[in-house]
Symmetry: D2
Subunit: 348 residues, 4 copies
């Protein structure tokens, strides 16, 4: 099937994850996470994060984020997020469902990033009984618009959060792309910067299914296994969720793939600029956001290309995955140039 | 690793499911179920059930059953189940969580089966405002104690349910074993007998992850995709949940594996009886329940065998899976005979 | 104690409600609503609304609105409301709690009113699985900024709602003030205009405690008594909730009191304008919203006056109740004139 | 209207509560509990309990118990209760609703009382992930069958609870009757015996509406006001909930009324025994439970007497209230004697 730019979850399973999955498919293994694969990959995550964090594997990002946010607050509390945050715009009320009613309070911020000022404004706006008390904060790294938070930016936000009694969650659906792009230690943009719990995305990185919830503050994860069980997020054949992570986290395979996806985004981004297309946000990881002229957008769709219209930002979103081929990038760029007339101009 | 009898979810992925999974790992596919594998297997399920049912794939049995039960009732209603039902004893409150508080009302019944009389007793006991009105009924087929409901038994129960305004759910974590053992058409023990919604177990049957929720009454499944999404049960790379079902449902692979598991249970059951061990329930599918003398139980555990103590029935539970080897059955039987002294007796 | 303008719930119980309460305090009465007072007042409400509506009494407006909204949707649906709606801004997540996660989608609108256009925009923005499907709409009559919907405006909104599959709820915390001001039949701004369920506010009207939930579409109220019971909203000594309504609904006492409150708001409004204070919204019922110069606001508070700063509209809110005395209005106006200097000017 | 024995909530408002209610109906008072009546009665409760407890007023017992239990646990935890406990049998799933799914685990116990042994059995039965971890325990004082826990019994239970990590809640719907009957200090059967939170029943004691939630462990009540608000349990005109308590708690009015109700139960109990009727439980407070011969039960109902059939205990329940007249007791006893023929025997 033709490659697309709709989402990095259109990609399949990367070879290393596939190999690890098949290797784990040997004989019997105790269910519900009491197996060697799960233990090994949990230890590997502790190595990668350089700390004794508490690790759980759940089925998808909706659940990972919602369950993690629910550990930060009770139903009568609230969680602050960016107005473009996935938890607010694309989870069909999952955070409210899992928390039994905690409200998300949205804040604005340039280029998809929250700021200490915006958080302070939201948190200090009300303190009466008729408003859910803010107790949590969620950052998305890589952001919803393909930008990144620098370690210092996260630290500043976490400091602000702490001053107001908020715990800090990071939605890391594309955490790998952030680490690969920033070239930092995973710890530098998580617990060292003040993050309490990270949802580390596996699916978009190249796994078949599953995300890791990583608690740096282990008090938050008290009885979290029971929370997962009750919420339908405890896999019986857990090894098939956890083992593919082993393939991914060995020899920095996850970063290799993320760097590739990021590079494809750069290739696409550069090509768009060269074709005279305006970018909506700087391309810092594996997503490219562009203001396509309507005929170009229509033309691409007519040629069968799939990509999202990003309502929040008024443009088109192109996501690159671990498997995006340079040829695919070049092919869509060629179509774009043809549609804009830039192709003709160059050829003339 | 040594084979065990703790649960049929200790088994790995069967070869046909593995092959289908790998075959689906080609190129890009639209996310969230809008892919050809999911369409094909949904159609295949409609063929198998000989009706235009509505099909959804979710991650595990906890979620499948809880989401399905939540379609039968509101939070202030109740659902009748057998006192040994998994939803009551082993789901950590998941049905209550997903339904936001619907109570399970338990009824007794010989050999793990509900009866029309027991249901009528529960449903007519109270009708006041202070008690959650019964609106749903759940049967487990294969039951928790390895027995089966015959088509007529299901029909009689469903008739009773209907008379009292209850909708009927079937927990089919081991549905394949039931169909294989009874030798009936799947329709005969579901919609033709009055079942409104079936949770068709995939994991214990040989899949890596995932169950199918099959609605025979399509009014119940209105907006069910939204329900799944909100509850963290919509897979982004859905093809890896659905494609393995294709491998399973082609050429009756699912029944072949189920028949094997059932046969292994018969082999074990016969061996236990021959060794003078009392069975707690007739062996009708892939589970064997036996009253082990304490020294035998301790001796088996000392030899490394894993199996569950079944609290509700005061004995030991041995489950056979698609991959249980005759040699494994023979090995545990040999150990049992040695422990009971029956081995010596026979040899002498 | 000094009278205030903070809220119409600072007022006590009106004499007619008190008399009815005391009259009901005779001998024994069956609990949970199975008493004559509750039957009589339910019948009286059916008379007043000229239709066979279904009536329930609950303890407060938070519960009335949240329970009513929960009948319109499931947890994975959403409800459209004005961005200033009380259910969004002042209920601490109660609608989300009672519905187990249904999101409120806010729409803008001049003078506190929703419009068909704004509703259409919200409802047609998304139709994918990742967004909770809109199924309900809530209007506030009297609006949060003291304005009113005319019957035709409600009908136009309800038509739009119906076209998009939304059921219509009216938050009538100050319904009495709306009826009194518009001089219409209660039916004209409810079911005749397309409203499915009304929360008819009792407390602000002069009762000690309690609101009525009035279902014009009786299909929505199926098992609503159970919903109330489970949610802690079924009074055991129900007669003390319902009987005061009898006093209120006899001889149009409710409208007499509401007209008085509205008249006091007019008196205040006129006085403010005369004192050169800008009104933020037209005064159409019992609330007055004004842009007070900071020294005036501070001066009033220094003199002990209580009123709310209305964050959403950037001004001060003054509410008049059934018991607000003309002398109280005149006293605060005199203080305002003194603080603005208008007093001096006039005296000079 | 004729007096009945169906429930102590058939009674009206006692004169002292009525007087306090009317006295509070003077002028304006700040809403939501920020008023002098609420402050005074909270202080009075602290005096009565001889400790700095945290006090909240909610609308009814369903909500009081459910909200209090929800502070003891998360949704994936469980709460142990007696199998006859009101929270299990008569709240329509309210505890599960407010806690978002926490299961109630029932234990048996003679005469309506839990024992340390029964609690230990339930709490140690399971410790796996598939079962909700017990974190709370609820006692009912006066029990559902009219018996009492002695201070030492409560202390023994609370010790057991504490050893297993359970917090202790007391459902005190008839707490007044218990204190009056035992002649102890309220502290002796609550915090001094290890109770963490008490729901102190007001309605059955003689109030129109409302119960007090009294936290002896103030860590449990963190943000409880927000919890109440979100759950629709924060009264706007709070003074009308709290002020009647003032009338009740002055000069031990509450104990005077409770002693009277208890005395009426003794009178009824003695009369039943004299008439040859078997008591099901000792009469220790204001409820009498008896095994009525079917013709007697039918005869009483034919004469218009209302009382409950107590399903759990297989008999009839007669409750006495603050207003039960000796003449009412004598009248039902006369009817019973006539129906049993004992009347004739005595007369002869």
């Amino acid at each position: 099937m033709q490659q697309h730019f709709a989402s990095d979850n259109y990609a399949g399973i990367c070879p290393e994850a596939t190999a690890a999955l098949l290797e784990a498919n040997t004989g019997h293994a105790p269910a519900y996470g009491d197996d060697d694969y799960t233990r090994k990959v949990s230890d590997r995550l502790r190595e990668i994060f350089e700390t004794d964090c508490d690790v759980y594997f759940v089925f998808n990002g909706t659940a990972a984020n919602s369950l993690a946010l629910a550990t930060l607050c009770q139903s009568y509390h609230s969680v602050i997020c960016h107005q473009l945050a996935h938890v607010e715009t694309d989870e069909c009320g999952a955070p409210e469902f899992f928390s039994n009613g905690a409200k998300l309070l949205t804040a604005a911020g340039e280029q998809g990033r929250l700021t200490p000022e915006a958080i302070t404004e939201v948190v200090t706006r009300r303190s009466d009984l008729h408003f859910p008390k803010p107790r949590g904060l969620t950052l998305t790294q890589t952001t919803e618009v393909g930008t990144l938070y620098l370690p210092d930016q996260i630290a500043a936000i976490a400091d602000t959060a702490r001053q107001h009694g908020l715990r800090v969650h990071m939605d890391g659906a594309r955490f790998a792309n952030a680490v690969a792009s920033l070239g930092v230690a995973p710890a530098d943009i998580t617990w060292r910067a003040g993050v309490d719990v990270l949802c580390f995305g596996g699916t978009k990185m190249g796994l078949p299914v599953g995300e890791a919830v990583v608690f740096f503050d282990r008090k938050l994860s008290e009885d979290f296994a029971w929370r997962c069980k009750q919420a339908g997020q405890l896999a019986s054949k857990m090894r098939f969720l956890s083992a593919p992570w082993l393939g991914m986290l060995t020899d920095d395979v996850w970063l290799k793939h993320a760097r590739h996806a990021n590079a494809m985004a750069q290739r696409l981004s550069a090509g768009l600029v060269a074709a005279g297309i305006e970018l909506l946000f700087p391309t810092e990881a594996n997503g490219v956001f562009a203001r396509l002229p309507a005929p170009v957008e229509a033309g691409l769709r007519a040629k069968g290309w799939r990509f999202y219209t990003f309502i929040g930002a008024g443009g088109a979103r192109f996501m690159c995955g671990w498997d995006t081929l340079p040829a695919t990038v070049d092919a869509i760029l060629a179509d774009i140039r043809n549609l804009t007339g830039a192709g003709d101009a160059i050829r003339s």
